[in-house]
Symmetry: C2
Subunit: 427 residues, 2 copies
């Protein structure tokens, strides 16, 4: 890990030499050391600054304890050349392995000795530690068959049934321009500059093969994916994701998160399906709502985050309990009830969403909300069930608008040096 | 400082009690303690988590060591009632004093015992430390006389001459919808959730008096304002702000940053003028440019950040030096030369800009760039001079577009409990 950090830091000095030519290699190393010493950084990386392993059975960035910041991007593939697409996935895998280890995406100086070549790294993360960066890739339905029904890459037969287009939900106000996509990349890190740098360099590497369809920054995580993490708050001011699937719950993850052998085409075993929803929150309206009403809508107390009628955040909601007035303590249309597994045939998913603010909306309001990210073994029996329940009855719908939607099949993890994202799909 | 943190954390427990009514005050305190103990946070706040003093001769958030994250907002005043505007500035000052100390903006539970009232804090920062939050307020030219020439608040005579509308610069492609504003608020913090919470609550408090005109999130600082800080990098991958004015340079700050007695109307003494420019960077084009050309455009090496021909970042550029070819080592149109005080009659300003990525632009590119923030004693002899020089000759203009512009007079600091932003202006 500290080797990796030294690598990106050493690149600073080397880049300075390669071009300005003002010092020998020894001098450059001295400059590099001075730079590190002169900064206010501690000697070693903190846990939040360290590296997350890139290879493994599953892709990193799913059960990895949710990092604080997000940059998510969806791409359209603009070539019909299968080999160029495969080449890109290979190049992306190599660059992601470097960047998640805290290195640059490629050489920063003269590339292969050609000074006229643009740098193979854009530079804005030089000197920054790995920062827990994870890069997670998914394949959209349109990669298998495009809008015109064309099988551009000869993989239509490999499309899993679980990657079924999401139905229209009541109240959906989706904007096609910020929905869908042939490929997606989720970059999460504890430093937003590191997440942005990763996406920007993958887009750079993909020039001529892919085009950015839409992209979303998230400034704060709204879910925990590990019991080690405190539960964060969403833009309604409530704790979010208390009952989320957690990395430690391996039996539940097997049943609800990871695609199992025999679930569908073999290339997806060990992967997971990803649903994204950009949910605009009408925070100005919410902020005029009394606290008691907010809590009745959510079904939890705002302060502690306890289910109504309970004292502590992690207490199980008692959905059967009746109050002195004979009414359910947790209202019949409370969000916590409608989203609960018992209301949805046991459906569970792993959420790792992020708060966003995208400036203002031209109507005097902040354009704020939640970028929902949900991973699951099969969306048809997870997200779709829960969202049907919420879309039909949730009182919270008065305060939210679903404005974008994405669906992606995220293949299993990278297994060794010759592996790449989608190898099994394209072989 | 630690008292303040306890205050916001205690509010969590109290809010839980006030509404859910599941425990007495003693029980609530126990829940609060359990919550704190159960989290992964260390006992005391780190320096980045601590509080910045709210009161002082100057507003905080100008020479304060630049925090990592920004939420900036410009408001239109939608009332013509002078007293309501003054009341808002008083309310804002009180709420800002609380929030910068790590407290909520107001009571989170039943307000003044009225359970039907909406909460006086929106809740998303509950449990978070002060995080170095600063809140800095400025008054735009249109507050003194609106677009129709009307003196809505009886302060037209108090408009400083230094608050002269900025001229049109060559190449400007400004969008009026995200430019200008009667009031601005800059919230900087080391946790974006804390910065967003501050702006959101000031907007909430201002409902009916002000309306959000535009707002901007910045994910990473691009300047240092203290010698303690390492120089960060902008989205061109270069170190930015190396030659910035620094908090330690008190003589320079007196001459170039702070409005001095006698400079204009008395109410601005101790204040500073703020210019904002949203600068879209065409990063895809930049990324296709050879490293040597990027460095010639900037006038510094990309790695170390040294002026061309020098070895170290903080070496002074030698603008007179000639290379073996008889040409200037720092090209005549290099950014570092055109922005240098010696090229601009000694003009200097304090920059504290931020990197931004606002999704994508619908043309397959990331919408990324620099949100420039510059403070100065008089924009006519600082920003305007430098920007004229840059707009006319800077080769970097091929890679950037100025898309928004703001100008604000930021009054001096808050001086004690009965003071408020603009007290001297309105008295």
């Amino acid at each position: 890990m500290s080797d990796s950090i030294v690598s990106r830091r050493r690149a600073i000095a080397l880049a300075g030499v390669g071009v300005a030519g003002v010092a020998g290699v020894a001098g450059a190393a001295a400059v590099g050391s001075a730079l590190i010493k002169g900064s206010a950084e501690p000697e070693g990386p903190s846990p939040a600054e360290g590296a997350v392993a890139f290879t493994g059975e599953h892709q990193a960035g799913i059960v990895t304890p949710a990092q604080d910041r997000l940059h998510f991007v969806a791409f359209d593939v603009i070539t019909t050349d299968r080999d160029r697409l495969i080449g890109l996935l290979q190049d992306w895998t190599a660059a992601a392995a470097r960047m998640t280890a805290g290195r640059d995406a490629g050489e920063i100086g003269a590339v292969n000795g050609v000074p006229e070549a643009p740098p193979d790294d854009t530079g804005e993360a030089l000197g920054l530690p790995p920062s827990g960066l994870t890069i997670t890739v998914g394949f959209g339905p349109t990669l298998f068959r495009d809008a015109a029904g064309k099988d551009r890459f000869g993989i239509a037969a490999q499309r899993p049934e679980a990657l079924a287009d999401l139905p229209h939900f009541p109240g959906d106000t989706l904007d096609a321009a910020i929905s869908g996509g042939d490929l997606c990349v989720q970059a999460c890190a504890n430093d937003p500059q590191v997440a942005v740098h990763a996406i920007r360099n993958l887009a750079r590497i993909g020039m001529g093969v892919v085009s950015v369809r839409w992209s979303q920054l998230g400034f704060g995580r709204t879910s925990s994916t590990s019991r080690e993490q405190a539960t964060p708050r969403n833009m309604f001011g409530f704790k979010d994701g208390t009952a989320n699937l957690k990395a430690e719950e391996t039996d539940l993850l097997r049943d609800h998160l990871w695609v199992q052998p025999g679930d569908g085409p073999a290339w997806m075993a060990g992967g997971a399906y990803l649903v994204t929803r950009k949910i605009r929150m009408l925070i100005e309206t919410w902020d005029r709502t009394p606290l008691a009403e907010q809590e009745a809508i959510v079904g939890r107390s705002k302060g502690v985050g306890a289910p109504l009628g309970k004292a502590k955040e992690f207490d199980e909601p008692d959905l059967a309990a009746l109050g002195a007035d004979g009414e359910p303590v947790v209202p019949t249309v409370a969000h916590v009830r409608l989203a609960h597994p018992s209301t949805n045939s046991g459906a569970r998913l792993l959420r790792r969403g992020y708060n966003f603010v995208d400036g203002s909306d031209g109507l005097g309001r902040l354009n704020a909300g939640l970028f929902f990210i949900g991973y699951q073994r099969d969306p048809r029996t997870a997200f779709v069930l829960v969202q049907r329940s919420l879309a039909r009855q949730d009182v919270m719908n008065e305060y939210i608008r679903h404005v974008s939607s994405g669906l992606f099949a995220c293949p299993p993890g990278i297994n060794g040096d010759s592996d790449f994202w989608g190898r099994a799909l394209f072989s």
